[in-house]
Each structure stands twice: as structure tokens, then as C-alpha cells.
């Protein structure tokens, strides 16, 4: 366990075709596909500084507390799950105006750089297989 304290950071960016406020609010709205609340079997969400959240999927629980809630530009919260191996990781989402669109930058930092999360990956591993299938299915669901 010598690499237990080594942490990594993951950064993901997307340009969302909607104005800042709308994107910010949608990210905290369980009705919006793509949010963690939306995929949760159960959730608790109190999006204010010091507020806590919980969400679970297939028996895996995620907990955190909000450390910054600055509508409509910044959202920051901690994140603990079996995948963080006891570390309190940090998720920061910034929303930047790009004309009529919004650039969303999500940085998940303080993640343990171990292989411990590997077994857990099975749950998400639809990635290479039915990726496209799932998308078209979801698209018709949200349209209907």
C-alpha cells in the first residue's frame, strides 16, 4: 500500500447548448439525464455550502458535502465512495459562458491512484459494447 497516498485528477469538458443558469440548474435537477441524481436508486440533495448529499446506485453509496455553490458559475463538493478508498475526493464544476452556450468543466481531484476500483468497473462497463444502443434508447425515452 505504498501508493495509497498517490492521488490523480480527472478532467472532463463539454459545451452544452444552453445558457449558464439553465445548465447550472439542470445539473442539480434529478430530472435531468446525465446527472448523478438521475441515475440514483436513492438520493438526498441539499445543494448549499455545508449541505450534504447522498446517492446510491446498485448498492454503492456516494456521500459528499458542498463546499461552493455559486450560481451560475461554480459548484464544488467533496465525494466519497468505495472508489475513493476512504479519501475525501473533490469535484469541482465550473460553468463558463460561450456565447449562447455553456462550457462545462468538471475536475474530479484527490482520487486514489490504485487499482482498487477495478472490480467496481463492471457496473459501468457497457462503454464499449452497447454504448450507442443505450444512447438512442435514452433519446427516444426523453423525447417521449
Amino acid at each position: 500500500m505504498t501508493d495509497a497516498m498517490k492521488t490523480v485528477e480527472v478532467k472532463v469538458e463539454r459545451t452544452i447548448p444552453a445558457p449558464l443558469e439553465q445548465v447550472f440548474d439542470a445539473w442539480l435537477d434529478p430530472k435531468t439525464p446525465g446527472t448523478t441524481w438521475h441515475i440514483a436508486d436513492e438520493y438526498v440533495l441539499d445543494a448549499k455550502v455545508g449541505g450534504l448529499f447522498f446517492w446510491s446506485i446498485k448498492g454503492t453509496s456516494h456521500y459528499g458535502r458542498f463546499t461552493a455553490v455559486q450560481r451560475p458559475t461554480k459548484l464544488q463538493h467533496t465525494w466519497m465512495s468505495p472508489n475513493t478508498s476512504g479519501l475525501e475526493s473533490n469535484v469541482s464544476v465550473t460553468f463558463t459562458k460561450r456565447g449562447n452556450e455553456t462550457l462545462m468543466t468538471l475536475v474530479h481531484s484527490g482520487l486514489p491512484d490504485t487499482n482498487q476500483g477495478k472490480g467496481h468497473e463492471k457496473g459501468w462497463n457497457s462503454f464499449l459494447g452497447n454504448f450507442c444502443e443505450r444512447f438512442s434508447a435514452r433519446a427516444s425515452v426523453s423525447a417521449g
Binding site: V8, V10, V12, R14, T15, I16, P17, A18, V23, A26, W27, T32, P33, G34, T35, T36, I39, N83, M104, L106, H108, L111, N115, G117, K118, H120, E121, W124, N125, F127, L128, G129, C132, F135, R138, A139, S142, A143
Partner: protein
Amino acid sequence: MTELSVVLTAISHPTRRAMIDRLAKGPAGFLELAKPFDTALNSVTKHLKMLERAGLIARKKHGREVIISLRAEPLKNVAGWVHHYERFWNEQLDEFEHHFKSTKGKEKKR
């Protein structure tokens, strides 16, 4: 590490990914596998060689026909190489973005 590079190269081409998708549904003969692609048969052979080198497919002779099947193990190494949360957030944000693209204009009426 070299093995990982070979696998990553193998899945870096859309045609080869489509072949993997097809084989994920079950084994197929060479012609059946080649059918959906708008490429020459010898280019299909080339793609298959790259998949084979990466250990992603196995060939089995069935009389005169060769049946090709998927071996998914090397893909697991790739999955382990990309961080869990990198995939997780990419999937979530893809869906989030897709939601805005697919409901654009519709939501305003509500």
C-alpha cells in the same frame, strides 16, 4: 505496456470497433463480418489481423469456413487503464449534453 498499446491501436479505428460490436453479439463467418463495411475484402483481412494481434479475436475452422469470435479479456486491461471516474464522468456528461441537444426547442413550449 506494449500489449496495451497494441490493444489501443486495435480499437482506434471505427471499422474495427464496429467489428468488435458485431462480434460482441456472437461469432461470425468472415463474409458475414465483412458485409456491413464499405471496404475491400483485403482491407477487412488487414483489420482482422490487427484485432488478432491484440488478442481480441479467435479464429476457428468449421469445415471450409472460418468462424471468428470475440475475446474480450484484453479490453478489460484498457478499461483498467482509463480511470474509473474518467469514464464515469464522460458517460454522465455525454448524456447531459445529449439531453440538451435532443430537447432543444421542445422544453420551451412547456
